[in-house]
Amino acid sequence: MTLDIRNLGELYGKVSVGDQTSLGIMGNNRDVSVGEIFMIYSHRDGHERVFFFRVLALQNYLRQVDDMARVAGTLMVEGDAYLSGIQRNMLLQVGGKMLGYAELEKGKWVFRSPRRLPDHLADVYRPVPNVSDEAVRKMLASQTDGEVFIGNLQVGEATLDVPVKIPSKYLPMHMGIFGSTGSGKSNLMMVLIKSILDSNLEASRNPNEKRPRISAFCIDPHDEFAKGVTACGIQDIVEAMDQETRASVIGDFYYLTTHLKATPREIQRYGREIRILWEEILPHDLYTIMDFTPQMVSFIDGQYAANRESWISAITDMKDDPEGTPKGTLNAVQRRLRFIERSPIFIRSGSSILSDVFVAMETGRVLVVNTSLMSDTEQFLLTTVIARTVSDLRRAAKSSGTLGDFESQGAIRLPGPFFNRIKARAKSFYSAGGQSDESGVRDPRDMPVILVTVEEAPSILNPELMRGQSVFKDLSRQGRKFNIGLIVVSQQVSVLDNVILSQMNTEVNLRLGNEREIQACIENASVNISGFEDEFRVMARGEAIVTASYRELPLPVRIPLFDTLFERDKSRYKASKATRASEKHTF
């Protein structure tokens, strides 16, 4: 067999009692903490298995002592008492949860949910950094592999060099990032952006590997990502790249902002101003982000039917309630549209960024969107318009057999002027070969994965708004068909709509604010993590429990600080021959 037990870690103890879900271990009285992962080696009938066990409870145990209180009492009362050789007899009774086991099958390690027991009195190993990494990496490959790195496997207080990644094919099945303020959500987003860039870099350097490109539209509400939270940011990656790499991975721009002038010079060079034409907005977009009465909805729908893409100007220019509309409706709708009128980014005329965003999303690029100078409503509308636009275009492609079909589908679904502007590019992206009307259309699953982040998610993904015609409701249900995924970032889980939560297949659970959120996180997790309450309570910033429906094992992960990762990898963004050769092993 390929397993060398010595590489599991240090021998810690023995299995004492248990069933297939919970185990008791008797071990050395070392400094063990809740949340540690132990491995139990079992060899039975020619099957070598390594069980993974997570510590949930600890209790001191003194061998040869039935009544600990009596001994403690004696030590108190008889001031001269000692305990002979007690070191050896001070044991720790460790209770915890069986996470599953790894087993070699046809030369490959597979991981299975707990449904077996380790041997009686089996040896328990405690992983040790620099010793166990490789063995654990191998055994847990099926649980940690993927394209998008998020952190390293944490085993209690130690972290192993076992990178935990998310497979890009599961990204369209949506991801949640939950954590209270200061838990490290922004840093995680930056790490994610870096990993996506790294993955795209890898894809562009190895075109034959058919590695999917990943696009991301990343809302940055505090304008932290480009410059960074502490020392480095995405801009540093961009600058570390040579021309060629930058052209292929970053393109002309990656930074979107309301006022480019307020942006530092070096970032300005890769920046664009966010401008969306009124005509590019659909009523559906508004329904996604705010509540309208049925009267208002029917009024808006009427105006849209009559005026098509100029519906917003038509309404804002209107003086009196039109015939048959209940009094006050116009006023109320106008009031709601006022933020668009006043917005510097939603413009009546001029040039829009939407086509460029669309192109970026279809070519595997990452956009950092500084929304710090926008109102929440502006930010939500922006996200909605982007998400709806890219998804409607993919939807149109998906429901078309030929480019000709696509053109008519697109014309129905999207605002006319916008579609006319981009349809030529769109056809080139979606064509399975050739540009004629008869040419076939590619499956969206062969197109880049598009990720859209929804920040401050509870404001738009709450049950009230999701009841109506939410773009995000459609996306959460059907995103995988179009290869579009949501990254929902939220401080709370409990207030999110169930449709969103139930469609989410990857959760990064960071430190949470209170018991209610802990409970909601545990209930929402895609694998059973009941019993992890204590761990959530002791989690530090940058620590997460990653759960995924496609994995058996809940993975405790330590997310590195972006700066550390960048420092480690910065030399790899220059395409020299040497880095080309070594990259395969690093990203």
Partner: protein, 431 residues
């Protein structure tokens, strides 16, 4: 049964029994105790002067302890019984200089020094019916005890009892024992209680011999402890007519004592449950005299000692045991007094000072200061920790025994022997 236990009727029966005891025994003994009381208080009883807990000894030393356990019923195959015997030897280092007092020597060191596993497990079989009980038992004992030369085994007893230098068995001729020299030549001939070889008696003898064997291995090993502690008393069952031990273990004990003296090891035996009458009264006297919670010891003198034996045990010929010096002691007011026996020959040479009671007392106090110091483990406060640890290590729990029986069954199966149930017979009937 519970319904009987809870009846007034049962209480009544108990009352009668206790009254009877009070009336019959105590009344006469109470008088005896009264005769001893002053002597006990003024001559025999004294306080222990404890070391301060942070005292550093001038010279740290080792303390060894041996305990054993076993079952005479690992397996019963018709009239053959398999005895399971376990012993454990623990060695502690007073280690006061390192500030980690009474640190046990690790197992590997002990196994290395003793040349056997620790704890040690052994088994022997015995057949009681075929008339060869004595032969079989002698074989087992000879196997167990490391000293194989029978003269060397028996001579120490005779030397000690007659206080004579005896070079060989022939030196016995002309003494009271001269007539028996021919029955002292083999292990088998040393078993003179053949008619009493019941299963428990056989098992006890095997067990005692195993413990003595373990102790002897300590004495001949490179470990040179200052103390060697045994569990129990230093009693020897004597053949009434011949006036020498009726079983080989009696000779073994004396051989052990003489070897210990030779190696300058203090050999002693500690028993928690002893048969000293009025021990509780002595304890009360100590409390009254020295205060609550005082630590004390009390010599239980024999007829050869100045002032003779105590009245309270004058009818009990086994107190003090032949060639032993017992003391009662208590180091903790939570516990009833325990008893410790020393080899009388050693005691005469090292503790007792002829015609100088205060010198003798000084020696006793120094001795008990050390015994007390080694008895302060919080788990077994007042009892020598080395013995407690040895006991913990060698004890066979019900579960251990059950597993041992299962293994025994397996082994029979492996050997292709006819399958036998290994559980005790009573379990066939769920008893």
């Amino acid at each position: 049964m519970l319904e009987r236990i809870l009846t007034d009727d049962f209480r009544g029966k108990l009352k009668l029994t206790f009254r009877d005891i009070e009336n019959q025994q105590d009344r006469s003994d109470e008088k005896e105790f009264a005769k001893d009381e002053v002597r006990i208080r003024e001559e025999l009883l004294d306080t222990v002067t404890p070391h301060a807990s942070d005292d550093t000894l001038d010279e740290d030393y080792l303390i060894a302890a041996v305990d054993g356990s076993g079952s005479g019923d690992l397996m019963t195959l018709d009239d053959v019984r398999v005895h399971l015997l376990s012993t454990s030897t623990v060695v502690l280092d007073t280690n006061t200089r390192a500030g980690d007092p009474f640190r046990p020597l690790d197992r590997a060191t002990l196994e290395n020094a003793f040349g056997r596993a620790q704890p040690f497990l052994d088994c022997h079989w015995h057949s009681g019916v075929r008339g060869d009980a004595r032969t079989k038992m002698a074989d087992s004992l000879a196997e167990i005890y490391p000293l194989k030369d029978s003269d060397a085994l028996v001579l120490p007893f005779f030397r000690d009892i007659m206080k004579r230098q005896l070079k060989s068995m022939s030196d016995l001729s002309g003494t009271n024992y001269g007539a028996y020299t021919s029955s002292l030549g083999t292990m088998e001939s040393l078993i003179t209680r053949e008619q009493m070889l019941t299963n428990p008696a056989v098992h006890d003898e095997l067990r005692t011999a195993s413990e003595y064997a373990a102790a002897r291995i300590v004495l001949t090993s490179s470990i040179q402890p200052k103390y060697l502690l045994l569990d129990g008393a230093m009693s020897i069952f004597m053949h009434q007519a011949r006036q020498y031990p009726s079983m080989p273990s009696g000779f073994m004990l004396r051989e052990l004592c003489s070897l210990a003296r030779e190696k300058h090891v203090v050999l002693c035996a500690v028993s928690k449950n002893h048969t000293i009458p009025f021990a509780h009264r002595i304890a009360r006297m100590a409390q009254e005299a020295f205060g609550e919670g005082s630590k004390w010891f009390c010599l239980l003198p024999g007829s050869e000692d100045p002032g003779g034996g105590l009245y309270i045990y004058q009818d009990r010929t086994y107190i003090p045991p032949r060639l032993a010096v017992p003391y009662l002691f208590s180091f903790s007011m939570d516990n009833r007094p325990s008893r410790i026996d020393f080899d009388r020959i050693w005691w005469l040479e090292n503790v007792f000072v002829q015609d100088d009671p205060s010198k003798t007392r000084e020696n006793e106090k120094a001795l008990f200061q050390e015994i007390e110091f080694m008895s302060r483990d919080a788990r077994w406060y007042g009892y020598p920790v080395a013995l407690a640890l040895a006991h913990e290590e060698c004890k066979l729990s019900y579960e251990d025994l059950r597993l041992a029986r299962e293994v025994a069954g397996d082994v029979r199966h492996e050997l292709g022997l006819d399958p036998r149930r290994t559980t005790p017979y009573r379990e066939d009937f769920n008893l």
